[in-house]
Subunit: 380 residues, 2 copies
């Protein structure tokens, strides 16, 4: 089976079950099916950092995310296309979602300038000049061979005056239309719109309604998890959710902690991405059934027990906490490899548990058990 | 099968074949059998950097090396022993060789002081004070659970006056006797002596003869590959080899390039260790059938071909040179993981080829073919 042979299957969301506002389903794409709720590991520059793609697949990840900004500045979208696209380049053959590049232009690039047309910037790598418009973002994502392309939007830093939040939301709507127009629809692929509006309920509703009326394959909620309290984020989801089409996937961008995922799933979100499990794994932090564990802490130095002896993940099951502590303290690459593996494994198993719980209409119980595990901690 | 159940099997060298001075055989240890000539990946601080131990095993490595200096300063030999030994700590269940710690004391530690007793030094990690004597080195290696322990020796920097080389060689002989006395012989384990004497033939011969008369399990040639021309190293091996017992393994410490390995095997060496394949892999360099390749070079940026499509190693076979180039240029951990994998795979396949060639008495032909491959290069 090569990825290319299945790309004539249509992109669609298949609803399988519901528990309160929480949903479970399948997103069918040309490169395979995504079980939802889904967590997408972030494959920034064509690699899920410190992991082999085969491992990512084995953990149960159905889809990974690629960052348009990183790939456009190095090695370049045209280069990736020449090499057969991002799937072949990175050896990930399943579905792939790419962001628009806009968010990272604003957070990473130098000398940014934004106007109605789009945004121009200098690469943080070599200072080279680039432009990103809704049309160019769509083109780049098509060159990469993305299965789910994201519209270019403007995500304002919070807090910001309501007028500024509104301006960016309205600009994002105009860019949504331009993105859809530029998106070359192909069977099995989709373009998603992005709800903006900060924490202003009326603006979020306006944005969601407008996007729901456009022929997007799915709708994302953007501009959250940028430092606001979790309650504000959840309130924004609750505000937006009733206005999202039930027959399309909903994607909460850049979120989050395990608790964020659980609470957002409860409120009807289907898809997530976040660098947290991979980044934390490179900094000595493990996410487990027993909560977040800092392996740098001296309490682990003589502990022969694994992080989770019942885990399916070899990294959580077969290595002592003392060894992980030693690797982290010694800045060994293997420490980053093992803890990234632990964290992505936990995120995937968390999502699998939520999917099963929704299908069985047991979500509240499963969430309570899950949170009790986090509260219990590793024990002594 | 656990490692512990087999530790009553005796340590011995079984000679299987000879081609000129080159030998092929088996070293039986309590934790398994080592096919020789053997290359031992270096597992410095309890990890073969950027590799899972399962991968190292799958590449055909029968034995890995652990560094006494690194492990004694962090996490400490007593700590490793409490945790069940270095095998359990690192998850490597096969044979393991540990060095004496002396070489790295001289190259890494601060405020060293050497006398007849041994060497005192401060850790390069935290400045803590440590002492290493022949007896303490044996004790540490036993605490680690090493299968092949190395005597403490003094390796002088070259060039050095002959009198200085002689003094260090004679001291190393006295330390050899103390090491053997301190070594707690157990079935399946061995202690190796180390030939010193710089590039002074008479001193090398004297050292080898004295060590050959002692009840070591094997003999190492130390103090080479420290910057001298390859011809000097090979001459030293030729000087020493006739004086080494035929029924014991010979180990050339810290060597080397693929060409060094081939030429030393031709001269009767059975075992090697070197950080070269692992360190090079972390710096964008690949060792392949087609010679050494610098993936940082722009010539690879658009090259869709793998490093070696005929390789058994997924890292050499399944990833484009363009992707490897991208990972290296982007300082991605996966680049280090893949190139370390490529390099250890090549080193293991090189040794497997030499073993088969010696057994078939075709060594000269195989060496000629091997070198022709290196000279040919990757091509365009």
């Amino acid at each position: 089976m090569t990825a290319d042979t299945r790309q004539d299957l249509p992109f669609r969301y298949e609803h399988l079950g519901q528990d309160g506002a929480a949903r479970t389903g399948l997103i069918h794409t040309g490169r395979g099916t995504i079980r939802t709720p889904a967590f997408m590991p972030v494959g920034t520059a064509g690699t899920v950092k410190a992991m082999y793609m085969g491992q990512v697949r084995e953990l149960g990840a159905d889809i990974v995310l690629g960052n348009t900004y990183h790939l456009m500045v190095r090695p370049g979208a045209e280069r990736v296309a020449e090499l057969g696209g991002l799937h072949r380049f990175s050896t990930w053959s399943g579905p792939m979602l790419t962001d628009s590049g806009g968010f990272q232009v604003m957070s990473l690039a130098k000398l940014r300038k934004l106007d109605e047309t789009g945004v121009t910037f200098q690469s943080h790598i070599d200072g080279s000049k680039h432009a990103l418009t809704p049309e160019r973002s769509m083109e780049i994502q098509a060159l990469l061979g993305s299965d789910i392309q994201m519209q270019l939007d403007e995500c304002v830093r919070l807090p910001a005056p309501d007028a500024e939040v509104e301006r960016a939301m309205l600009l994002s709507l105009r860019w949504a239309e331009r993105s859809l127009k530029a998106f070359e629809a192909k069977p099995g692929r989709a373009c998603f719109g992005i709800v903006q509006g900060g924490t202003v309920a009326a603006l979020r509703v306006e944005s969601a309604k407008q996007l729901a009326a456009m022929p997007f394959g799915g709708i994302a909620i953007g501009g959250l998890a940028v430092g606001e309290p979790q309650a504000d984020m959840l309130a924004a989801i609750e505000t937006v959710e009733p206005h999202l089409p039930a027959d399309k996937p909903r994607y909460l961008m850049g979120v989050g902690t395990p608790d964020d995922l659980v609470e957002a799933v409860r409120r009807g979100v289907d898809m997530f991405d976040c660098v947290m499990p991979t980044r934390a794994g490179r900094h000595g932090l493990a996410y487990t059934r027993f909560g977040k564990v800092n392996l740098r802490n001296a309490r682990h130095a003589a502990d022969p027990r694994p992080l989770d002896e019942a885990s399916d993940c070899p990294a959580a099951r077969d290595y002592s906490r003392a060894y992980l502590h030693h690797l982290v303290k010694s800045d060994e690459i293997l420490g980053m490899m093992l803890l990234t593996w632990v964290n992505l494994s936990y995120y995937q198993s968390l999502m699998a548990g939520l999917r099963a719980a929704i299908a069985a209409r047991r979500l509240d119980d499963v969430v309570a058990e899950t949170k009790a595990g986090w509260d219990r901690g590793l024990g002594d």
